[in-house]
């Protein structure tokens, strides 16, 4: 324990033993609403999603994580990543970045460059989706003229009548040019709402890239869209903005 002695100094007043430390850990985890400390397999902050979230955190908080102003996430708390600006939506209590788990899903892993799976199973029914966006990084495509136009279409994968049948339901699309470079954002609020309400309906997302003037589909990699094989800081991820009906604080 370090205590501020009131004259601008910090004094060490107590060295905790291991039992006290365990108890203190439990106390703080309870306050954070966690049953136990998370054990992530990979915890590097250099990947695209943690970098984005850390930038967001720094933009909305002052020192020591205290939320600026009146304690609300505001649209004025913009965060710029590359050339794109993110505005945290008002009324947001929790922001989660989801990593793409398509590799682990049997019906998606054969199309890893075009498919996405974001696990919403831990999002509880007490949380309401305020907004959600999928972020893909696009590098310049040298194969085409710079003003060539492409449509990047996102589909939600739905279950068909047969267990093997999968249906593609269009969600959103974005127009990009061959020379576009930077983060491309897709509004996925509708998909996130559905996955939160019905977690079993989450079968993933499918991406198609259409070469507009030729009217044919092309490989997303050829347009410069960074997939799971790209560098860590440019890998796709999804961000969900949630408002929490009830922050669970145990009475003490």
């Amino acid at each position: 324990y370090y205590v501020d002695n009131g004259i601008g100094q910090t004094e060490k007043v107590h060295e905790m033993n291991s039992r006290d430390k365990r108890e203190l850990q439990h106390e703080i985890l309870t306050l954070l609403g966690l049953h136990q400390r998370p054990k992530p397999k990979s915890s590097t902050t250099k990947d695209s999603a943690p970098t984005f979230m850390l930038n967001l955190y720094n933009s909305i908080t002052s020192d020591n994580g205290v939320v600026k102003d009146d304690g609300n996430f505001h649209s004025s708390h913009n965060v710029t990543i590359g050339d794109s600006v993110v505005q945290p939506i008002e009324g947001t209590d929790v922001i989660i970045s989801f990593v793409n788990k398509a590799k682990r899903v049997p019906h998606l892993r054969h199309e890893k460059d075009r498919t996405f799976f974001f696990d919403f199973s831990d999002v509880t029914s007490k949380e309401t989706v305020v907004g959600a966006e999928l972020r893909l990084y696009k590098e310049k495509a040298k194969k085409w003229k710079k003003n060539h136009e492409f449509h990047i279409q996102m589909y939600m994968i739905k279950q068909g009548q047969d267990p093997e049948d999968k249906i593609l339901e269009p969600v959103t699309n974005v127009t990009a040019y061959a020379n576009t470079e930077g983060w491309i954002t897709f509004n996925m609020t509708r998909a996130a709402e559905r996955w939160t309400r019905q977690p079993e309906s989450n079968l993933g997302l499918f991406m198609k890239v259409l070469f507009v003037s030729k009217g044919r589909e092309i490989d997303p990699n050829k347009l410069g869209i960074v997939s799971y094989r790209g560098s860590e800081d440019k890998k796709p991820f999804m961000v969900g903005f949630f408002s929490s009906q009830e922050m669970v604080y145990p009475h003490r």
Partner: protein
């Protein structure tokens, strides 16, 4: 007459008590018993690294757990952020100390704390915890 004498004695003892810590040097606090100084905000910092949490908490480095500590006694006007009720409570306590407690030193303003951490799946969570940081203390 007896009552007047007792009240005067109590009043005197409160004044004496107050004067004892009115200009009390802050640096001597640690040598005094807790609660011997006027109601004020104190701070206690828990480093997440000391708990071995650096593998999953990205930010902040620790929890700045401000807390309120100290006495709220006569004259209440010298204390920080005393509520009207605290003034009445002090007077009632002064006259009937064993029936009514003195006002309590408690947070008067709280702000939110944000925590950024990895969950088990490697997703990153930015959560806001309202009313987690004591911004100021007062007598209630």
């Amino acid at each position: 007459t007896q009552t007047a004498l007792r009240r005067r004695r109590e009043l005197y003892s409160y004044r004496e008590e107050h004067e004892k810590y009115y200009d009390y040097p802050l640096s001597r606090h640690k040598r005094a018993s807790p609660g011997r100084w006027p109601c004020q905000r104190r701070s206690l910092y828990v480093k997440f690294r000391d708990l071995g949490w650096q593998s999953w908490i990205i930010a902040p480095d620790g929890y700045h757990a401000f807390f309120c500590e100290g006495e709220c006694s006569f004259p209440i006007g010298n204390h920080v952020n005393a509520t009207n009720h605290a003034i009445v409570q002090t007077l009632v306590h002064m006259y009937t100390p064993y029936k009514a407690p003195s006002p309590g030193c408690a947070p008067s303003k709280l702000s939110a704390q944000s925590v950024l951490y990895f969950d088990d799946d490697g997703n990153v969570v930015l959560k806001k915890f309202p009313k987690m940081i004591v911004t100021s203390c007062g007598c209630h």
